[in-house]
Amino acid sequence: MLEIIVFLPILAALAIGLGAPARFTALGAAVITLILSLVAAIQFESNVEGMFQMGSDRPLLVMDGFPTLSLSFGVDGISLVLLLLSTLVLVAAVLVSPQESEIKGSSKLYYSSLLLIGGGAIGAFLSTDLFFLYAFHELALIPTFLMIGIFGKGEDRVKTAWTITIYLGVGSLILLVGLIMAVVGLGGTTFQIAELIAIAEDPESGIAAGDQTWIYLLLLIGFGILVSLFPFHSWAAPAYSQAPTPVAMLHAGVLKKFGLYGLIRIALPILPAGAESLANVVLILLLGNIIYLGLVTIAQKSLDRMLGYSSVMHMGYVFLGIVAANSIGVSGAVLLMFAHGVSIALLFALCGWMRDHFGTVKFEELGGIASKLPKLGLLFGFAAFAAAGLPGFANFAAEVAVFFGAFSGMGDQLGWIQWTTIIALWGVVISAVYMLRAYRNLFMGPVAPKMEIPTDLSWSTRLPLLLLLAALVAVGFVPELLNQFIRPGVDGLLPAVAG
């Protein structure tokens, strides 16, 4: 079944290339994938031996003296949550995409690229073979670059596309070096993640602590570039503000989570000593995301750039949960990946609609929208409150867990991570400042002069948005919906520190 989930979007992309009706095929494939991933969630069992469930394995390349490459898939609680995130956002992204007739250029390329981004992300999250985990991510990145370059908005789109290609390409490359070093360090006998972790946990065969630090550093930079960890963030905001709306949703919402997933899935269990020795470095960097970039977010003068920076800023909290390296913090980080993915996709979708219909998203040119378009005002209000971490939405539950996880190791006095948590909590105030200011400028006050006034959101426009909002609210009220999966997943990954 997992193979169907991974390959359905990719096959659908090929089918579109061969002439199938683009939007219809894309939507069908996305919806079926979402349904199948829900089925997978229902079939998932919490108490089961071994790391992955519903596994499948197809050895592709068997050579002597070289570890076997095999196309193998499986889920644990963590990848299941990310699978749900991917399929949910994929459906929403396809739904908010323009009708085929409205696309300037090849609608086949447009829709098949979306499916490849989604399918690549799903493949990366479900792969239990390190090689394919990496390869699927690359598969998803390429159409992302193409989409920005071809269908992006603004004059600089080609330049932006090249920048992000080189930047993320280098990140991937550094990552590749780190991964190869990790595999070689663990004997070079396998690419299976579960086996690599088992080897690493055995003190006889694990990597020496000193080497772990270097490998972890490479992985941190590699994954960090992909997640826009400070100071490797400067590609993100321009890319998101110029990308076509569904691409911004898919990349910021889903694909970017790959870097965080990689740290949790691979770096933490294989290199625990490395993670520990570099913990304080990560703490400083993540404050760069939360405080430094939080302030930069406040200074933005248009909604698209503000959302781009805010998405980068919130990555800091996920890193905080990862550095905590205990079951509360890492679980919170996983939950936050889901919450952030859904909420930023929702915000980018709203922002894209506004740009298409108002012709601008600059704060100074808009105002008082809620008086004229109450439905948009209400939905945006919900999305902004969710992103600012208000209770009732998934983001709050996740952030609270991250904070408690990060604080939990405190002894008689505050250590590095507790101080970092305290400073990071100020980021919650910063988020509220920029979200409320944006809402105040765009939606409240008198209606801006010279503003075009489009008709309010139609039902078909609202459908994907309400879908995302419903997910945020459901998980916000009952986090157990996802925690039931995350808990065993994280405990399985961190047996030594669990509890």
Binding site: E138, G169, V170, T297, I328, F404, F407, S408, L425
Partner: protein, 604 residues
Amino acid sequence: MDVNTLAWTVLLLPLFVAVSIVVGLKRWSGLSSLVSTGSALITLICCALMAGAEGDAKAFPWIELGTFRVDIGFQLDHLSKGMMLIVTSIGFLVHLFSLAYMKDDNGKSRYFAGLSLFMFSMTGIVLADNFVMMFIFWELVGVSSYILIGHWFHKESAADAAKKAFLTNKIGDFGFMIGILMVWILTGSIYFEEIKEAVGGGLNMTLLNIAVLLVFCGAIGKSAQLPLHVWLPDAMEGPTPVSALIHAATMVAAGVFMLARVVFLIEAAEMAAQVIAWIGAVTALVAALMALQQNDIKRILAYSTLSQLGYMVMAQGIGTPEGSDAGMFHLYTHAFFKALLFLGSGAVIYACHHEQDIWKMGGLRKKMPITFWTFALGTAALIAVPFTSGFWSKELILEEALHEGMHGPYVLAIIVAFLTPFYMTRLVIVAFFGKNRSDNADHAKEVGPIMWVPLAILAFMAIFSAYKPISGLLLANGYGSFGHLVEHFGLTAILSIIALIVGVAGAIFFYKGKDSDPINIPIFANRFKIDEFYIVLVRVFQDAVAAFLDIADRFIVDPIVARFPALSAMAAGQFLRVFQVGNVQAYAYFFGVAVLALIFYLIL
């Protein structure tokens, strides 16, 4: 019905109503308002039933991760049951009053959805049995307050006030959350009962004191104590019934309630208790000074609310269960008489066609007799005329402060006891006596029964809520009896009665028959320029820094770090001869093609 059903109904019914209005009912605004008001009545009845019932309600597990567990659970004791009666009874009266006041408003459905959401949030704070649940609803109270203050969001001033209220509270909540985390670390629990047990067993006192002060930050924000008081007067931009419900009787009392809930922590942390008492007393004084020179009827009441909240916070800072009870007692009596005063001012504003300047009123006593007499009774309670409810509760706070040796705050509180009658008498004389000073005041006439009935009920409570049997419902040991005064007649009673007489007489002397303010003290009228100071602070330390970092990010960080990929591309290129390709783009495509080839290989 058993307690479990009652508790869950009280909590969830308002949420259900709010959601129904947003999802569909909003099209029929009349129906929305009736459903919302009806639900307020039902929750009031449920709370009345619950007050007399024994038993517990089941908890709902919200989050469970490792050692971190949060339930949506209930702590049903006298404190929460009494507070719920206040919240739901005043809530219901405000719903009722709003039916008339908001009759022709375009956003009536949104308004009532906001009220119901507020009732839900406030109920959650009061019934919470743990810190995180309380924090959840604490934030939701902030959201509903934001919605209600910003009800007329097309007005710049309302939109700004809503944002200011929310963000100021967020600053307090920043401390609150750190405090919760520290208490959790120190005691190993977020549940009030478990924390109470753990406090007995030798904790690190320095950390405990810091933790308590941080928790108190939450109360500083929500109960608008110095230095985070600035949002409350601006919050008067909301519709007047909202000011009565939220910004006088209930939401701002949440901070005091929270302190009362954790009074055992304050008891254990002596240094923190001192700070809390002083902040309360100083707020009471400073706010009373500001109230002396305001001209907007709602703002005068807003500053008097700040001042009275200062009393209540000071009472919590006494750090004894008795002191805390006295503070809660004042919270109860204040809720009634302040809701009365706000709704009364709402009636006046409504009658005077939204005129809020007291100098443009005058002579309303004859035109609006019911409003005048009820307003006068509310004023009597606020300025602590003997035998009104406000007198008993304020006396008790002062007595407890003196008894525990808190002399500094006590002296400040006595000064406030003189200032309060002064500014309230000024308000009553200027607005209700003399001659009409504007056309709007000239055309004023008495409001209809749907508005004056709530006033009459509240006026009754303003006098009698301190007496049994009403006080018995609200407090574990009901206070307020004539015998009590005789028993405790001493320094405090003498001082406060003198302060009352001097205050009232002084105001009559200065303001009788005046058409403009004979006293002019700019520093009070300008509220000590604290708002202006904060604006500068935000501009310099946030906006200027943010603008600088934005530029720095584009022109310094990006160029430096962006070279990093270029450099590492070369380095990695050397390292990975395997690929034998010079540049990164080619590499990326190479990889993509390879993967695609593999996939084809697999499929075919």
